[in-house]
């Protein structure tokens, strides 16, 4: 049995020849990847922690009645049985889109939503697919009518009367959905047990030899430059040069998403946000200390040079169960993803591939080990809490 240890002196006598040791620096990185901390607050949504809103949000998430023709719910594409993905290359709702369905398990921890980050909160995000003609084909008015018809009791206990303004109603529906999404998490994996044992016992043999080797490959290959922290994502946007097969136009990713989030009426600085935005004109501000609202949005540089073809770093938690991969679902297997990093084929059509990326040229054994490691991030015992079951 292979054991990974880190205390170089005290435990060195116990090491057999197949064992691994982590340097102090590697250890710090590994410890930073588990456990998943509680999610940060959601300042734009005053109902984010309200149980009544979460209960309503769960009903809404599974309700096909929010779609234009009653055929499609959030859960149609974000299937709890598949870690809230759909197993398809690109999504199919009322029409066929061009992007792969991401999981929603990490929604509570994210700063930007969608592959291009065109929403800056989970509730603002939720208002998108409802109105997207290719997804649910609904409308703010339709949502207002539906909640009055079908969710009256749950709505009243969450929010009181249904507002007259459909845009306000839609924002509240989004806030309820966010409250529900905040009850979901990627769940505890064997990797989390491994890190816990490293932390408490100074060593662990929970992972197989190949999996521990894969962890070393992961650390040595610079994967943590982007897939960092407990969610294995820096929440940032990078152009890794996934070869695009443009159908009806190139998908420029963050270059468009950054502008769209600034223009979104549902963004952090908008009137539907629960953040108190003062003063409206930054020029009249003085140097008075204290937090100012919406820093991520206010300081965003929408014309940053590296945005063209940049997409959000996806979480790697439960990644073994969420094929296919990448923003366009163009890679079918994890081994295929590793081949991309091995070869870095082609040149991006615009912009440039992130300069830190170099072809890894891993051996077959190293590539397999890396895939084995990624599978240790899979949740152990089915879905968390009540989130999985349709009502």
């Amino acid at each position: 049995m292979r054991t990974t240890r880190f205390e170089p002196l005290a435990l060195s006598l116990l090491l057999g020849c197949g064992d691994s040791t982590l340097s102090q620096k590697e250890l710090a990185v590994v410890l930073s990847m588990s456990p998943i901390p509680p999610p940060p607050g959601s300042p734009t949504n005053r109902y984010a922690e309200a149980p009544a809103a979460a209960a309503l949000g769960k009903d809404l998430f599974f309700d096909k009645g929010l779609s234009g023709d009653g055929s499609t719910a959030c859960s149609t594409c974000h299937d709890p049985a598949r870690h809230f993905t759909d197993g398809e290359r690109v999504h199919t709702g009322l029409g066929v889109g061009s992007r792969n369905v991401p999981t929603i398990e990490t929604a509570a921890w994210q700063t930007w939503f969608f592959w291009d980050g065109r929403a800056d909160s989970a509730w603002a995000q939720a208002t998108g697919p409802i109105r997207n003609p290719l997804e649910m084909g609904g409308s703010a008015e339709g949502v207002r009518a539906r909640v009055i018809d079908a969710h009256g009791v749950a709505w009243a206990s969450a929010f009181g009367p249904v507002p007259d303004d459909p845009m306000v109603t839609l924002a509240l529906a989004g806030k309820a959905i966010e409250a529900f999404e905040r009850t979901i998490s990627p769940g505890r994996s064997r990797f989390d047990v491994f890190v816990e044992e490293l932390r408490t016992q100074g060593g662990s043999s929970v992972l197989t030899e190949a999996e521990q080797h894969g962890l070393e490959v992961f650390l040595d290959s610079g994967c943590t430059n982007c897939h960092s922290g407990p969610l294995f994502s820096d929440m940032g946007f990078h152009n890794i040069g996934v070869p695009q097969v443009p159908k009806g136009g190139m998908d420029i990713g963050r270059a468009l998403g950054a502008t769209r989030v600034q223009e979104d009426p549902y963004n952090c600085l908008g009137t539907y946000s629960d953040v108190a935005v003062t003063p409206p004109n930054a020029l009249t501000a003085t140097d008075a200390p204290g937090p100012k609202p919406c820093p991520e949005l206010r300081f965003l540089d929408a014309s940053f040079d590296d945005w063209p073809l940049a997409f959000k770093t996806p979480t790697l938690r439960n990644v073994a169960l969420t094929a296919p991969y990448m923003h366009d679902g163009s890679i079918a297997t994890l081994r295929g993803v590793v081949e991309l990093y091995n070869e870095l084929p082609g040149t991006p059509l615009i912009g440039h591939r992130e300069l830190t990326l170099v072809p890894l040229h891993l051996t077959g054994r190293e590539s397999d080990a890396l895939v084995a490691f990624l599978a240790t991030l899979t949740e152990e015992d089915g879905l968390d809490s009540s989130a999985g079951a349709a009502p």
Partner: protein, 122 residues
């Protein structure tokens, strides 16, 4: 830096955090060490080895401002701002990648324009 000014800088969070917003506080002095309250300091940063800057656009705090009432002008249009003790603050910096960063300071003030660079490894 040219030799017109003396500039010292620090950050509100130290060491500089990975992938999180922080602010830079610059103190601007003349060569005798006297603080300069009526200049401006614009801070930016880049990773020369990667050929890119920050994903954010920092904003310099205006300082302590009072409306300046020009005859006939709208009261809100002109502001008179100073930086007591020569302290200038830029918010919204973000080092989104680990590696070599260079902070760029662009100074203007009574002694003319000047620039300075500072290296930082994250």
């Amino acid at each position: 830096m040219g030799d017109r000014y003396r500039l010292t800088w620090s950050t509100d969070v130290s060491p500089i955090p990975f992938n999180a917003l922080f602010a830079v506080r610059t103190v601007l002095r003349d060569r005798s060490g006297a603080p300069i309250p009526d200049g401006s300091v614009v801070v930016d940063a880049s990773m020369p080895q990667h050929g890119h800057g920050m994903p954010t656009r920092p904003i310099a705090r205006p300082g302590v401002c009072s409306p300046k009432l020009e005859p006939g002008a709208a009261a809100s249009s002109t502001l008179d701002c100073t930086h007591p003790d020569g302290v200038y603050v830029s918010e919204g910096m973000k080092f989104h990648m680990a590696g070599e960063w260079v902070l760029h300071f662009v100074v203007s003030g009574p002694l003319g324009p000047d620039t300075a660079d500072a290296h930082y490894t994250l």
